[in-house]
Symmetry: D2
Subunit: 140 residues, 4 copies
């Protein structure tokens, strides 16, 4: 299994009154990592929409290990799980760039729907191909 890596600089406005990154901002970092990965395979949110598809998040988990703060650079590692249905599960690790320590881990579960939000009965073959290409890249 491989991770796609995205580098981010912590922004001052992401740091809270305790001097550490506010926990909710990790969700936007997960998304930045996921979108950079999926766009490579024409599965980004706007690319999906052009195919009349949406991939809304239905479940989100995050485990916080160590704080990050302003001035830190972080690496978002993103990978995915092989599933049999119209569902995509992404896994994330946030690492401190300098010392390599794991700051947080997490996951997002997405379902594939049409533009009205109806769950796909069957994933279209061209989408399956894109998912397969992403899996090969990630070796999962």
């Amino acid at each position: 299994m491989k991770y796609h890596e995205t580098l981010l600089q912590v922004r001052f406005c992401e740091v809270d009154a305790y001097g550490v990154v506010w926990h909710g901002h990790y969700i936007s970092w997960f998304e930045a990592g996921r979108n950079e990965l999926t766009e490579r395979f024409h599965m980004g949110p706007f690319q999906l929409k052009e195919m009349n598809l949406l991939a809304p998040v239905v479940e989100l988990t995050c485990q916080f290990k160590l704080p990050a703060t302003f001035g830190d650079s972080v690496v978002i590692q993103t990978t995915m799980e092989r599933t049999e249905v119209a569902k995509l599960i992404f896994y994330y690790r946030v690492l401190h760039k300098e010392n390599g320590k794991v700051l947080a881990t997490g996951s997002t579960t997405h379902v594939l729907t049409d533009l009205k939000g109806t769950l796909l009965y069957r994933v279209p073959p061209d989408v399956l191909e894109k998912i397969e290409a992403m899996r090969q890249y990630l070796e999962v």
Copy 2:
């Protein structure tokens, strides 16, 4: 001149590493005040869109007087200026609810466009009526 008033509680995630509300969040407070006002007159962002109109912000100013922090309640006072063209200018004051002190003032300037972003040559009569009703409410 009258102000429309909107009450907000400062959220913990709006406070920055200096222990005060991060300056950029005042923009969302201005917007909350403006939308509560404009929606009353069927001029909210989604209501405009139903009339095939947009009112994008083209200019923004904000003057910061005193800090707010978590636990504070703030009152957003919103009013507007009478203009002759397809332009709307809103003015804001953010007050500390308990002591009435002015924390910030500001303005946003909006133009009226069609859904493609083309500036309106003439404001439709039904929109002018809504603006006029809002002006009478605000006594401007």
Copy 3:
């Protein structure tokens, strides 16, 4: 078991390119609900800090059921779980105010630490009293 209820208006800036509230913003709603509850029992983030305590989030889960959008009012229901250690677990439900439908559920797990982030060996008696009062209020 009872829920503490917090009413929020969806802000325009919380709605994403798909026309629904961006999933990450639910984390700030959970926090708004939790803080309104904990502050009643002198366990809010700033109140804890005055007692030389922090309660950082170590785990977060969220399940998204139905979308919310601009113009909606939502009710955040917050409750907690009885635990034996220096750990607090809060549970949330986000309801659409008008139709009562459940939009999302979730949880946050917090540990009690000193200001240096060291896990408390024992919860101070005055903090235990506050937690006990909160439990009685919530009937858990």
Copy 4:
């Protein structure tokens, strides 16, 4: 006059219900540009604090020219104005990376205060040196 340049990718969560970057997010982009510049000269927010100084924003302006959206890369150009008092004024331009068009311009005015927020009567010589070095770098 030179500009310090900072490259940013537009995040999906920065795009609003109209499909363009929500106007308030430009404030965080200005800040990202300013902090990258000031940190080079040991004048970043955390570096100032170590010198018992703060540089709160007292005024903010932004002019929006063209929309940005998800998938765009933007360049934040930051420069400053020479002032004689304990005040710093930064100017910003946001450019679309691919086509070089100006998306927005703006400014933030900061005052130098001690940690209690009292305006500095005189700027300490070592801070003046840092400001002078930043001016030389920017040729202002």
